[in-house]
Every structure is written in structure tokens, then in C-alpha cells.
């Protein structure tokens, strides 16, 4: 299968950008080959220039960028070609799929129109022949009701469907090379697993070479034959997947592999959280019972508003010094739950009891007093800081509200001490957020949330926007703060491996409800609910041997709209015919291990699955 003549060979490619702050050398002389039919992974953290390398090769650089070097595709130097010549190749011989499937489809054109356009441009195909070909490809990427989809607009499809359409469009002309730039980063894990399966299948069936650009070592382990590791615009290491994963040479590669949290708990860094010690005193801390947050969605002036049940009857207790991880895919209501606990969104019903007082009934002023002990850290470190304030001022904000009697110098000293505590140089006190890196800004966010030494900090996807190496440092910082101040965390994330690293107990949410809740180790060793099992089986593990031998659990049905009252009985199809939509109840199946009602797994698995994999977690 591996031919000796490379399909695409990049030699000594440089990419420079002219910016207001001078010339930025994004790519500094990289060379690589892509062989026909192989999958080459280009791995690196943000800003490493991994995307720019291939964008430059395709002639898709931003206007202020210039590329030097040669990019040879079947005897043509792509960099020396005119735009017209390039257009002959782009889309026909080389095609691309991007990270965000919504923004890479034109919103006002129907799927069919966009697909037919590709065929018309490159193969002068039109009419019934072209319709048939579009339909064939949509079916090949396993889009249900493909004929109907051709007449739909991009916004009518879910994220996973849109990415499938993108792949179908990219494959229409049978390209020799498919460039996938973070194709699954914006998608949920279960959908990611399906898209990766699909790409792998296409590569095997059609011999299409794939250049996969990603930051996720797990995805690479699953898909790639050869890997290039990129950092600061140069390739630091290249080799076969086995070489990179089992015999990494460069320190950076080793660091990347170590920093990556692993679902199987085999993280090489040896990071450990302090096990939770049950306190003797029965302290009332945080109790959430039957919390509901419903939104009214208006569909026009006269239409009856629909009810979106973002959080639908969630109950749990948090003990002092404990971390509960809340996992779920997009739309599962985990962020809404966090905001409802903090009363940033008023709950529709249910109670939140904090140290004996019911927060839902407090007035504004009384609630304000409670906020001293309840803090939150957000996902996007840049967006969570006021860009026109210095980071010192941002960290000082809580002191301005709750330590009114402290003098200015005292406050400043407190801020400086806090900055040291979270690993920031106090000399950066007068800097602005845009002068700092994402990881540093996240430390600022954490410093602000912990300066009053609160009792509870909610981390809403606090490490999701960060590179793995930074992610590891922030997790360590959070663990350290917890040990020092006996903090409790509600740690919200879509990433199971991260949640596994930091949580004592884990709660899995689906469509606004808890489907499973258990101790960390119980949950991973003995997952009960089909959804949990599906999630666990979908997360890629950065280990090629394990990855290639694993089987995915594929369940019937797709993540449907939370507006659909039938969505939550997806795992209980025997109750689907009920007049009143049934809400599955949590049952304590083992001590401390709660599982929502569901039908037996055998009834839920997709039929084309040859055999049911019993042991879903790798040993």
C-alpha cells in the first residue's frame, strides 16, 4: 500500500505574517512528505504553525502572510501556481475540512446546491447525474434520509451531520489528499468517534491520503500511521506512530504525552489528587435538590412558547473539601446547572441549600453576602477578564466589594501574594490580559476566584480552552489550592479524562438529567448506564495499540433537540409510547452508585454491531 513516491512533498517551507507588532515567522523551514493512502498526523499546541503549513501549501494564507519554499504535488509546485491553476487542484485533487462545520458551509444555500456546485466546477457535471452522485456520497457518509437533507439548509442539521456533509463534499471528486484541520475539535466525543471512524473507513476504501492536523494525542493515536510533532514553527520530531508514542526522543514530545490526561488513568506524570477523607461531623454544606431550570423559547410573535428543560430535576450533595466532576456533552445543561447553583440564572424550581440557608429564596442583598464564599472560574481565559483593566485590578475586584475597610496598599499586597500563590510573577501586576498567554490569564481568573478564600469554586470548563501542557499545570494548581484551603470544587467539563484526573465523585448528565453518579473509580471500572459506557468508549486514548484494539459502543438514535420531550427516554425506549413523557428515575444500584433507569444494553446497541464488547474500559 505504501508507495515510494510521495503525493505531496513540502520542502523548506517558511510562512511569515506582517502584523502591527512586526514580522511573525509562523513556520520556519519545515519539510515533510505525505504518501498516497496514508494518514499523517501533524500535532502541536496552539500557535505552533501546524495549520498555517498546510494552508500555505493550499494557497489559502491570510492576506498579510507570505510563503517561501516549495510544495510539490504530483510534479507541480503549488506555491508558484496562479490562482486559476490552483483552483483546478483545490477541491478536486486536494480538499479540506475545517474545524467548525457551521461556518464552513454557506448558510443561505441548500446542502444540495453547495454540493452540486463542486461537481459543476470540477467535473462539469450537472442535472440528474450530479444529483445522484451527491445522494450517493451523503449515503456513504451515513446521513439518514439523505434525499431530504439535500433540500435542507446547513442550520437545520446538527453539528455532527454538518461535519458529515463537509466530508461528503470534500470527497465528491475523489481527491487524492484530504486535509483535515481539527475536524472533530468542535464536536462532542460520541460524534467525534463516529466522524473519525468515517474518515478511517474512507481512507481504507478509497485510498485517500489524510493530513490530520490536531492538538489531541488521542485522536492521533487512533488515526495516524506517521506523525509530525510541531512546535514554534518547526518539526521537532517525526516518525511512525509507534515511534512517537512508545519511543519518543524529543523532550517536547515526551512532555506532550505525559501532560495528556488519560481515561485509563495511566497518566505518566503520576499526578494524584488527595483522596477524599470523610469528615466525622455531619456538616451541612451544599445540597441541591430537584433543581429545575426551564427556559421559554419563543418561535415568533403568536406561537406558543416552547419549554426548554435545560436542567430537569437534579439533586446532589457536595461535602467540604470534595470535588464533584460534572460531565456531559453540549446541551446537557451542565453549565446552566452551575449558574443556577450560584443564582446567576434563577432556577424554575427546586432548592439550593448552602450552609443551612436556602439560596433560592434570598433577596439580592442577602445573596450578595453569600457570594463571598461562592466563586466561579470560566472557560475562556481572555473573555473572563475585563480587557481594559490591569490583571492586578481584576484580581482586586472581590476585595473592593468584600474588604471595604482594607487600605489600598493592603489590597495590593494581598493581590501580589495571591499572584505568587497561583504562580504569577507579582511584577506583572500592571499588565493587561492581552499581554499574557492563555494559561497565565487562566491563573489570573483562578487568583480572582480564590483571593477571598471561598469555600466553593465552580470551574466551568476551566481547562478546556488550554493546551494540554498548560492544562496539566492548571489542574495541578487547582489540586494544590484545594489541599491548602480545603476548597470544594464543582468541576464541569466535557472531557472525561480531565474530570477523571481531578474529581472525587463524577456525575454524568444527559439532556438536563443525571444519568449516573458514582465515585470516580467506580464509574470508570463499572459504568452502568449505556450513555456513560458510550461516552467512555468514545474517548480516544493516547496509545496506538490500545486504540486500535478497542471497539466503540454505538447506540441507536442521535442526540436530539432538548426541546423534544422524547429525548430523555432515548435509553428507555420501552417507555417511548407513554402519553405523558416519562422521566427516568435515579436508582441506587450499588452503595453510592446511582444510575438512571434504562432498558437493557442489548436493546439499545446498533444492529450492525457484530458483537457486543463487554469490557469497555481498557484494563
Amino acid at each position: 500500500m505504501i508507495a515510494t513516491i510521495p503525493l505531496l512533498s513540502i520542502r523548506n517551507l517558511h510562512v511569515d505574517f506582517k502584523t502591527h507588532d512586526g514580522l511573525v515567522e509562523a513556520v520556519q523551514g519545515v519539510s515533510c512528505d505525505i504518501l498516497p493512502g496514508e494518514c499523517l498526523g501533524i500535532v502541536g499546541e496552539s500557535g505552533s504553525g501546524k495549520s498555517q503549513t498546510l494552508l500555505a501549501a493550499m494557497g489559502l494564507l491570510h492576506r498579510n502572510g507570505t510563503a517561501r519554499g516549495t510544495v510539490d504535488f504530483q510534479g507541480h509546485n503549488l506555491l508558484a501556481m496562479s490562482r486559476n491553476e490552483l483552483n483546478q487542484i483545490r477541491g478536486r485533487d486536494i480538499s479540506m475540512i475545517f474545524q467548525d462545520p457551521l461556518t464552513s458551509l454557506t448558510p443561505h444555500l441548500k446542502i444540495g446546491t453547495q454540493m452540486r456546485e463542486v461537481l459543476k466546477t470540477h467535473q462539469q457535471m450537472s442535472g440528474l447525474v450530479s444529483d445522484a452522485k451527491c445522494l450517493e456520497w451523503l449515503e456513504r457518509v451515513r446521513i439518514p434520509l439523505a434525499g431530504q437533507r439535500l433540500r435542507q439548509y446547513p442550520h437545520e442539521l446538527s453539528g455532527g451531520m454538518r461535519q458529515r456533509v463537509m466530508i461528503a463534499m470534500a470527497m465528491l471528486c475523489d481527491p487524492k489528499l484530504l486535509i483535515a484541520d481539527e475536524p472533530t475539535t468542535a464536536l462532542d466525543v460520541t460524534i467525534q468517534a463516529e466522524i473519525l471512524d468515517l474518515m478511517d473507513e474512507l481512507r481504507r476504501d478509497h485510498g485517500t491520503a489524510i493530513a490530520l492536523i490536531t492538538h489531541d494525542m488521542g485522536v492521533v493515536a487512533r488515526m495516524c500511521d506517521r506523525i509530525q510533532v510541531m512546535r514554534h514553527g518547526v518539526y521537532v520530531e517525526q516518525g511512525s506512530a509507534d515511534d512517537i508514542f512508545y519511543r519518543p526522543q524529543h523532550d517536547y514530545t515526551k512532555m506532550l504525552l505525559q501532560a495528556m490526561p488519560r481515561l485509563d488513568g495511566k497518566s505518566a506524570s503520576g499526578r494524584q489528587i488527595k483522596p477524599y477523607q470523610t469528615r466525622s461531623e455531619k456538616a451541612e454544606f451544599l445540597t441541591v435538590s430537584d433543581l429545575k431550570v426551564h427556559f421559554q423559547i419563543k418561535n415568533g410573535f403568536f406561537a406558543k412558547p416552547a419549554v426548554l428543560r435545560a436542567v430537569d430535576g437534579v439533586s446532589f450533595d457536595l461535602r467540604p473539601g470534595e470535588t464533584i466532576g460534572i460531565v456531559g456533552e453540549s446541551g446537557s445543561g451542565k453549565s446552566t446547572l452551575a449558574r443556577a447553583v450560584l443564582q446567576l440564572i434563577p432556577p424554575t424550581s427546586g432548592t439550593v441549600t448552602w450552609l443551612g440557608s436556602n439560596l433560592t429564596t434570598l433577596d439580592r442583598q442577602a445573596m450578595k453576602q453569600k457570594r463571598e464564599d461562592l466563586q466561579i472560574v470560566f472557560q475562556d481565559p481572555m473573555a473572563s477578564l475585563n480587557p481594559s483593566m490591569t490583571i492586578g485590578d481584576s484580581i482586586m475586584e472581590p476585595l473592593r466589594i468584600f474588604r471595604r475597610d482594607a487600605t489600598k496598599t493592603d489590597r495590593k499586597l494581598a493581590v501580589a501574594a495571591q499572584m505568587q500563590r497561583v504562580g504569577l510573577e507579582p511584577s506583572m501586576i500592571n499588565r493587561y490580559p492581552h499581554e499574557l498567554s492563555g494559561g497565565q490569564n487562566q491563573r489570573v481568573g483562578i487568583a480572582r476566584a480564590t483571593i477571598l478564600q471561598p469555600k466553593l469554586v465552580i470551574c466551568d470548563e476551566a481547562v478546556s480552552a488550554l493546551d494540554v501542557s498548560i492544562q496539566a499545570q492548571i489542574l495541578e494548581l487547582l489540586g494544590g489550592l484545594q489541599a491548602e484551603f480545603d476548597l470544594s470544587f464543582l468541576f464541569i467539563s466535557h472531557d472525561l479524562s480531565v474530570v477523571r484526573e481531578i474529581s472525587h465523585r463524577i456525575m454524568v448528565m444527559y439532556q438536563g438529567c443525571v444519568v449516573e453518579m458514582a465515585d470516580r473509580d467506580d464509574l470508570f471500572r463499572n459504568p452502568q448506564h449505556p450513555y456513560t459506557r458510550q461516552l467512555i468508549s468514545a474517548v480516544p486514548i493516547p496509545d496506538p495499540d490500545i486504540e486500535k484494539s478497542r471497539k466503540r459502543l454505538r447506540l441507536k438514535g442521535e442526540l436530539s433537540s432538548p426541546l423534544d420531550p422524547m429525548a430523555r427516554v432515548r435509553f428507555l425506549p420501552s417507555r417511548m409510547g407513554d402519553e405523558v413523557p416519562y422521566l427516568p428515575k435515579l436508582q441506587e444500584r450499588f452503595p453510592g452508585h446511582f444510575v438512571a433507569e434504562h432498558d437493557p444494553l442489548e436493546d439499545l446497541v446498533l444492529d450492525d454491531e457484530p458483537e457486543l464488547e463487554r469490557d469497555l474500559t481498557p484494563s
Partner: protein, 300 residues
């Protein structure tokens, strides 16, 4: 409590930290590198200097006729560099004085529109919901009423006081500013740092004045810079119609209006004030454009 616990390790903390580079300083630096905008700034400063100091340096007054020189074309010998008008008044003195009035009027009106527009828009945008609806419908209603009708009404109320009239025009100009600011606020309100402020117990006015308005500087400055020429033009238009500044007081608009009547016999009476107005408008527009590029570098 915080004072005591942190004082202990205060010795090794140095508070004379280096200053950071704020977004505004960045914008200013980009602005300084913009040649067109800097030309605009230089021209504007020259115009302001000429308008404020110029009239007192001239031997002629803007309202008293020079009995020895009626309808004199521009000449160096007579001392009337811009010529004189039908009444023997020095055109240079009148033009400079007119520029002064036009600039002052624009400044007052813009200031009024910024103050009202920003506060109104930020509150409407942040409070949202029904309050926002009510506030913005109020804006829509005023928008829908004809401008000229207002001016005539205001003339009746304020009489002949030029500055009050233009303060009142500013009080109409704020409508657009309020809409822009509300739109911006709606997007800032979604940002997590606003949520962080709410989560840490800040009051609503504190959030609006500390966290929202400082981040509106970019769009507000840009729009204000573009409002100034608009008001100068409005003033000229109103004066041309006879609503604005009245004789013997003058403004660029009135000068152009009277110059246009006699353009065929005394063309200089139109050319000089028109040249000043065009220079003033162009330099303000260049500055506005430069500010937009400086605050929003992604757009080009």
C-alpha cells in the same frame, strides 16, 4: 484579616511593578502610525489655533465694515487677504470667526450626544428585557419625528441662543449613539467577565460604569469623531436655511450661504469659507477613520 496574613511575606513583594501596555495605548500607537489620520490631526490643530487666536491678531473685526474697501477681491496690498464682502467686512476675520462658532457648536452637541447616548444605551443594553424594549421604543419614536419640526420647536423654546439650540441638537443626535452603544453592550454583556462580576456580587451601576463603559471606548470615540463633522454640516445646513446662527454673528454655513448668492460676481466669498469647511470636514473624517482602524485592527 487579609492585611495581617499577607503582611508577613510582604517584604519580598515589590509593588513598583513595570507598567503594562493597555489596549488604548496600543490603539494610540497604531493611530500615530497612520499618515492620513496624523495629517488630519495637524490640519485640525492648525484650524483650531487659527480659529481661537487668529481673530484677535487681525486688524479687522468680523462685524465692523472697512469703509474704504467694499467688495474688494483678495489682495495682499489692501490687507484683506481673503477680500471683503458687500458690507466691507473682512472675509478672513469672518471665516476664522465662523470656524470658531462651527467648531464650538460641534463640540457642545457631540459632548451632549455622547453623555446621553452612552449612559442610555449602556443601561438599556445591560438591563435588557422589557426595560430595554421600552427604552429603545422611546428612541424609535423620537427617531420617527421629523428633524426640522424639532428644530423649529426648539427655536420657539430657546429663542435665539445659538449654544442652547445646538446643545438641543446634540440631545437629538444621541439617538444613533444610544443604538450603537446598546448593540455593543448586548455583546459585552455576554462576556464572561461580566458574569464574573455578577458572581462576585457587584452592583448593577458598578458593573455598567466599571466593566461595560470602559470597554465601549473604541466604538464611542469612533462614532463621536464621525458625529462632529455631521453636526458641522447640520449647522451649516440650518444656518443656510436661516434657522441657525444669525447676522452679524457668523458661521461657516452662513458664510457659504451668503457667498453662494453672489458667487458669479464675488466668487471669493464662497471659495474661502467652503475651503475651510471642506478642510475641517476632511480632517475630522480622516481622524475618525484612523481611530476606527486603530481600535479595530482586525478589520483590514
Amino acid at each position: 484579616m487579609i492585611g495581617r496574613s499577607y503582611r508577613e511575606n510582604a517584604a519580598d513583594i515589590d509593588l513598583t511593578a513595570p507598567k503594562g501596555r493597555s489596549l488604548k495605548q496600543d490603539a494610540l500607537r497604531r493611530f500615530r502610525n497612520n499618515k492620513a489620520a496624523m495629517t488630519g490631526v495637524v490640519l485640525l490643530i492648525l484650524l483650531i489655533l487659527a480659529a481661537s487666536v487668529g481673530p484677535s491678531l487681525l486688524p479687522f473685526n468680523y462685524e465692523d465694515p472697512d469703509w474704504s474697501a467694499f467688495r474688494v477681491p483678495p489682495s495682499i496690498e489692501s490687507g484683506h487677504y481673503f477680500g471683503t464682502d458687500q458690507n466691507g467686512r473682512d472675509l478672513l476675520a469672518r471665516t476664522l470667526y465662523g470656524t470658531r462658532i462651527s467648531l464650538a457648536v460641534a463640540l457642545v452637541a457631540t459632548l451632549v450626544s455622547v453623555v446621553i447616548g452612552v449612559t442610555f444605551g449602556a443601561f438599556a443594553g445591560y438591563l435588557g428585557g422589557r426595560i430595554d424594549q421600552a427604552m429603545m421604543r422611546f428612541v424609535d419614536i423620537i427617531y420617527a419625528l421629523p428633524y426640522i419640526l424639532f428644530v423649529i420647536l426648539l427655536m420657539v423654546i430657546f429663542g435665539r441662543n445659538v449654544f442652547l439650540l445646538f446643545a438641543a441638537i446634540g440631545a437629538l443626535e444621541w439617538l444613533t449613539m444610544a443604538r450603537i452603544v446598546r448593540g455593543q453592550t448586548l455583546s459585552i454583556r455576554q462576556r464572561e467577565y461580566i458574569e464574573a462580576a455578577r458572581a462576585s456580587g457587584q452592583s448593577t451601576p458598578a458593573i455598567i460604569f466599571r466593566h461595560i463603559i470602559p470597554n465601549l471606548v473604541g466604538p464611542v470615540v469612533i462614532y463621536a469623531a464621525l458625529t462632529v463633522p455631521e453636526i458641522v454640516a447640520t449647522e451649516s445646513f440650518l444656518s443656510y436655511l436661516g434657522f441657525g446662527v444669525q447676522e452679524p454673528l457668523t458661521s461657516l454655513g452662513t458664510l457659504i450661504a451668503s457667498g453662494a448668492n453672489v458667487f458669479e460676481v464675488m466668487p471669493w466669498l464662497l471659495w474661502f469659507p467652503a475651503g475651510f469647511l471642506v478642510t475641517l470636514l476632511l480632517s475630522l473624517l480622516f481622524i475618525g477613520d484612523g481611530l476606527r482602524d486603530a481600535f479595530d485592527p482586525k478589520d483590514h
